[in-house]
């Protein structure tokens, strides 16, 4: 995973499997993105995502809060059924809605 600046946004393409190690990597990238001296939105692209873990979702939740506190937004793109069902299974439908609405 890496951060790419595209069309005035910082885009992170999520891997096929967002498991524990990938969650730790995503955390580091989000910290990096949040710390950048910019007002750009951070986009999580879910296109390739096939499997999600609780650890990955926790990082996404913490990322939402981190960027919000920096007056910026974490945006989800190309969210697929796997993502929706995973958030829903964990009782996080509201949080996903927030992520999609931003």
């Amino acid at each position: 995973m890496e951060i790419n600046e595209q069309n005035g946004r910082l885009v992170i393409e999520l891997p096929a499997v967002l498991d524990l190690p990938a969650a730790a990597e995503l955390r580091d990238l989000l910290i990096d993105a949040a710390a950048r001296d910019t007002s750009l939105d951070v986009v999580l692209n879910f296109t390739n995502l096939e499997r999600l873990s609780t650890a990955g979702i926790q990082v996404v939740l913490a990322g939402i809060a981190a960027l919000r506190s920096a007056a910026r937004r974490l945006v989800a793109e190309n969210v697929n059924d796997t993502t929706i069902s995973s958030f829903r299974a964990l009782g996080l439908s509201a949080q996903l809605t927030h992520l999609l609405d931003t």
């Binding site: 730790a24 955390r27 926790q58 299974a89």
Partner: protein, 711 residues
């Protein structure tokens, strides 16, 4: 894949596959009991738990094919244990095959290879048929689909489940997401998450768990099904509180839909948004949930418990155990070995001191000796495992082979819990398999042959293990035809293993079957008779310091006795002196020692030197003569005779100069460090740094017999 904290998922996978091997073996053993009609309901539960555990881990690693097959297998087992399907002999056979296929999927996942798409399709179809479900080779169907085919409408209950993972739960490979999904498969589920403990991004540990959940589940599957979802995390890994909310009358009839009031918070904050996805269909409970938002909760809790408090209710059984890499234990064993040598060295250095002159030193050395021994025994106990793991394959082997050979055989096992070193167990697998095959193929007669000689049509194979004299003995005994010595001898002569005219005892003829390339089978079969098996059997057993002997009675059967060391690292020995050389005699072989009188030590024609003791004649072997040691005592009445016993139970007297004392010795392999020497089993390092050879009593006896025959 590793992260910046060195976290490696492959460790979890390795542990998972180790557990799978144990679970598959346990399942096989338990299914065998069920197959024989000796199983209990708990056995069915045990098999279910095994399959469920394999499925759980497979889900965590996304082994989808494995999950799918395990799910169907598990559902079939669930039907059996709940009485919705009957355990017939055919179904028991199906369980055996199911476990085999499950093993195939596990091995494929471990090898990271894919099985053919239709692998196990026939078994899958039969398992599915057992539950009334349609078989599918596609992605796993949700558990709810199995419920839909349940012939009898179940009684529904509502449970409130508080699920608080420990911070370390994710690191153990358990993901709440999978559990909550599994929980959702049990019925209608409402989930309320508590994110209050989620720290800031910079403060959070991505591998730690911060969320917790309160769930309301309406299900017809009962409390046990919920317990199983959390079976492997309840207790240390997560706090699970399950509360049943079903006080309303009539709910056991299943007419309680919509009457149960979920927790007020269950729909207050989340569900109105959750419903909006439109992905979660028309479960009957949706209306109930909607209704409940305006309904005062009328149900009250009447049963609150935790998994930890009630393991007997189908919950997790918590064992205080950890998994440790075998290399680490081996390093520990080696260090203990070195410690034993150091202790012997200190003992030797202090041998000139007395308690009076150096009381504290002597006391300290005694304590060191005591603690070293305890340490050594404790370390060896870590490596010890019950032979049960080895024996568990036998029932199936006997069943399959007897069917293939058109023979009737009953397997009787005893001493399965006898413990022996892990390496010994691993090394025994092939020899034991071959000996059982041999007993079935060559030993047991066909039912017709047995009845013709007045035996029951069904033959018996007895597999036994026991500790005796510091060693472990494994016996494979059959009540078949016994060894046909004339045929064995003729075959041995034909193959040049025995010279024409050479006189052999019955025992020597029997042992010919272990000669390389020996086989009396007129046709090579895929069961046995390849002529390499028994040779390999003996070599494998000798490789771990063991020995195999055969006792056979024509017409009555044969008994193979495997004598094995409890451990491969340290043993108790008696240090003896012959001439200028020191040897170690295994203490377990020593019966007694004495200085014979002239009347006791005699020389008999055709026999050689013998010792008469308590009316018994015992062959007397002079070690100096066998090993060619100059300067040793040659007159038994001036030296000492140590009477030793071989694994076969034969006694022999060894003439030595002196007994120097008993001590623990660390076994150093001659095979790997030098080369095999007949009469010597291994070497050791003494306290003064000298190397002493450890005597192989059984081989010495054979050498003595040859020497006497030559004389």
């Amino acid at each position: 894949m590793t992260d910046d904290q060195g976290y490696d998922l492959s460790q979890f996978k390795a542990t998972y596959f180790e557990e799978c091997a144990e679970l598959l073996a346990t399942a096989e053993e338990t299914i065998a009991r069920l197959q024989e009609g000796q199983g209990t309901d708990e056995d069915l539960n045990a098999v279910f738990r095994c399959v469920h555990s394999i499925k759980g881990g497979a889900g965590a690693f996304a082994f989808d094919d494995l999950v799918h097959f395990a799910h169907v297998f598990e559902t079939a087992l669930d039907h059996l244990r709940s009485g919705r399907a009957e355990l017939t002999p055919h179904v028991a056979d199906l369980m055996v095959r199911g476990n085999d296929i499950l093993g195939d999927f596990v091995r494929a996942a471990q090898a990271e290879t894919a099985l053919p798409a239709d692998h196990g399709a026939d078994i899958l179809a039969q398992l599915s048929a057992l539950t009334g479900a349609k078989p599918t080779m596609a992605a796993p169907a949700p558990t709810a689909s199995a419920m839909a085919t349940t012939p009898t409408p179940p009684a529904f209950s509502t449970f409130r489940i508080r699920f608080v993972p420990s911070p370390d739960m994710l690191r153990t490979g358990n993901d709440p997401l999978l559990m909550l999904r599994e929980l959702a498969g049990l019925g209608e589920l409402e989930v309320v998450v508590d994110t209050g403990k989620l720290p800031s991004l910079t403060e959070m540990d991505a591998l730690a768990s911060y969320l917790s959940w309160t769930c309301t589940l309406t299900t017809g599957k009962g409390r046990a099904a919920i317990d199983e979802v959390f079976e492997f995390v309840a207790g240390d890994t997560a706090q699970i509180d399950i509360e049943e909310l079903n006080d309303l009358p009539g709910d056991e009839e299943g007419d309680g839909w919509g009457l149960f009031a979920p927790l007020p918070s269950a729909n207050a904050s989340q569900d109105e948004e959750g419903d909006g996805w439109g992905l979660f269909g028309d479960a009957p409970g949706n209306n109930a949930a909607a209704a409940s938002s305006v309904t005062t909760p009328v149900a009250k809790a009447h049963a609150v418990s935790t998994q930890q408090a009630s393991p007997s209710q189908g919950g997790a059984v918590h064992t205080a155990s950890i998994r440790v890499d075998l290399d680490k234990i081996d390093r520990l064993v080696n260090m203990v070995g070195e410690l034993v040598i150091t202790q012997a060295m200190l003992g030797q250095q202090a041998s000139g001191f007395t308690v009076e002159s150096h009381p504290e030193l002597i006391q300290g050395l005694q304590e060191l000796s005591h603690h070293t021994r305890e340490l050594q025994e404790s370390v060896m106990a870590i490596r010890a495992q019950p032979v049960k793991a080895l024996f568990s394959k036998a029932p199936r082997l006997v069943r399959d082979l007897s069917s293939k050979l058109n023979k009737q055989a009953r397997l009787v096992m005893s001493g399965e819990n006898t413990e022996v070193d892990k390496t010994v167990i691993e090394q025994l697998s092939d020899p034991l398999t071959h000996l059982i095959r041999n007993a079935l193929d060559h030993g047991l007669e066909t039912p017709e042959e047995r009845m013709a000689v007045g035996k029951p049509a069904e033959g018996t194979i007895h597999l036994a293990a026991e500790h005796r004299s510091g060693r472990i003995f494994i016996e494979i005994q059959d009540d078949g035809r016994g060894i046909d010595r004339q045929r064995v001898l003729a075959k041995a002569m034909e193959k040049g293993l025995v010279e024409p005219g050479q006189q052999l005892t019955d025992e020597q003829i029997d042992m010919l079957i272990f000669a390389p390339g020996f086989s009396t089978a007129s046709e090579v079969s895929d069961v046995s008779g390849r002529g390499v098996g028994m040779d390999v059997v003996r070599k494998n057993i000798q490789d771990v310091g063991g020995r195999v002997v055969v006792q056979s009675t024509p017409g009555a059967g044969s008994r193979f006795i495997l004598s094995l060391p409890l451990t491969l690292a340290v043993m108790d020995g008696m240090l003896i002196q012959v001439g200028g050389q020191r040897y170690v005699l295994p203490l377990t072989n020593i019966v007694e020692s004495l200085r014979p009188s002239p009347q006791q030590a005699r020389s008999l024609v055709d026999v050689g030197n013998v010792l008469t003791i308590r009316g018994e004649y015992i062959n007397l072997l002079a070690l100096h003569a066998i090993f060619g040691i100059p300067g040793a005592i040659t007159d038994p009445t001036k030296g000492l005779v140590v009477i030793v016993e071989t694994e076969g139970g034969e006694r022999v007297g060894l003439l030595v100069d002196e007994l120097l004392g008993q001590q623990q010795v660390v076994i150093k392999s001659l095979d790997s460090n030098f080369r095999p020497i007949h009469g010597i089993s291994a070497a050791t390092i003494l306290g003064d740094g000298r190397v002493a050879l450890i005597l192989d009593v059984s081989a010495l006896r054979q050498m003595g017999a040859v020497a006497n025959a030559a004389q």
